[in-house]
Symmetry: C2
Subunit: 334 residues, 2 copies
Amino acid sequence: MSFLQTVRGVSGDRAPIWIMRQAGRYLPEYLAIKERSSFLEMTRTPEIAAEITLQPLRRFPLDAAIIFSDIMTPLEALGVEIQFNPGPSIVHPLRSREAVERLTLREPIAPYVGDALRIVRAELAPEIALIGFGGAPLTLAAYLVEGSGSKEYEHFRQFLRAQPAAMHELLDRLTELTIRYLRMQVEAGAQAIQLFDSWAGLHDERTYREFGLPYYKRIMDALAETGAARIFFALGASHLLDAIAEIPCEAVGVDWRTGLAGARAKLPGRTLQGNMDPAFLYADRATIAAEARRILSDGLGGAHVFNLGHGIWPTTPIDAVAHLIETVHAFKRA
Amino acid sequence: MSFLQTVRGVSGDRAPIWIMRQAGRYLPEYLAIKERSSFLEMTRTPEIAAEITLQPLRRFPLDAAIIFSDIMTPLEALGVEIQFNPGPSIVHPLRSREAVERLTLREPIAPYVGDALRIVRAELAPEIALIGFGGAPLTLAAYLVEGSGSKEYEHFRQFLRAQPAAMHELLDRLTELTIRYLRMQVEAGAQAIQLFDSWAGLHDERTYREFGLPYYKRIMDALAETGAARIFFALGASHLLDAIAEIPCEAVGVDWRTGLAGARAKLPGRTLQGNMDPAFLYADRATIAAEARRILSDGLGGAHVFNLGHGIWPTTPIDAVAHLIETVHAFKRA
């Protein structure tokens, strides 16, 4: 069954597979490009971003390509200055309502991402789906307020509790940005869109329902008009599935800690995507195959797109990836 | 109702309160000691550790004291070299079965912690409980293999998948260490013991049942003989409550993402401890009080020890802490 049909809920006799961060540092051909280009050049030069996007597809029989980019990429259209050294950091973290109100949307939003998508779509075999993506507003807000990656996101969580109205103002602006950015990606050739809520796991359900859900519904409703297949992925969100069930989308991606059978019960009618622990790719071949089959069995009872439960790690052995994809493709869904 | 009675399941008309990291950096009197002493001196000098333990009790009407120490402290008795600069790091991270097999337990285990407990118990008002603690083996193993704090703990999770037998060997040794260390604390005056599984949230339930649960049961069973009240606290563990329910202990601490009412249903007969988001202490007074009362109401239906859902942050305003404790003590449980 093709990736797109599966995302749309058709439960075929085999599960399609793609891998979060499949275009990335575990591939020597990616590292060769990285050697001579900065991360910003890589994401902003359509030919390079397209080449990186296509690299894993040349090596492996994956069922979908995902555009090479970063969830921070569209923030520059709000006047936000970002540095990569090598992880992203915000030059002036947002810490006041005034700073939020200074954010002004200037189009076009990252037009080079659209250009890269057009190049990829033209080169990609027609049966391989092309996925675009964006960051969920609450995750983008976490980076914007904190300024960089963090274990606890103290500044962000403090801002949310101390200035909830300013936080809503920020989320509203990020939602408008995200809707336009994702629409542009669909117009440029993305057939599916994944919204990444990488820091969903910071929040309790009550907070998530107030500061996440309304914005995610707006984004997914706006995307419905484009005809793109919609995937929502949240990390560390086992405790948020009842809330996530209210987000309009075709597929929900879950991480390795959320059992697929339990998720199936909470998300009836949705395609599930996931969820092998990336650490299993360091085990021996028999263990990798057994774990993949366990997850495939767990995913029965509805449509399932196989994926890892989180992005693949840079030191992953390439042979393990090939072995995983073979195992998934060989598995006959009962 | 006293803290110890509440932990043992007596559901009185008010909830006792203590605060994770209540002896710490948000207190100017702690910072004054920190100015002139290294972290190692602070944990290893019984008079200093006792003084730090008592500081928050002099300022606030808390219902329990927790000994000032670190979950890494007992690891030196296994021959592990730890540096603090300022966070803890392992000089030679464990990355092989051979390294695990070289760990040899040499008693006494951190005897200065016992000395500090004796000083505190002698100075503390008799109605205030004294809590000892240790790190859960799976969390200690995460630090030992990774070498330092990490977002994803790739080395640790890779080791667990690639060398499960060596991981069990490591967990077995850490369990033996922990049992002896915690028994020593009870003999020195600790009336309750909290086992901290700070990195429980890395694992899915299947993995937690294999690599966590058997060891935690052994520790808690060994502690039962000492008569100490047993508290198990795991961070990011909403998805692990069914497994945690099998750990023999009187109280279970949950973080701010695990609703108390839902936890009550999964943990019948246990005292619940928690769970205000530490970020709420930056909100205005009315919001802090409303959130505290919401959690107190959520905790009805069984015994409840009020706490934050995670350690208090270093920049927390002291007035907010005083206001929280007043609010909790004023709340009449229906």
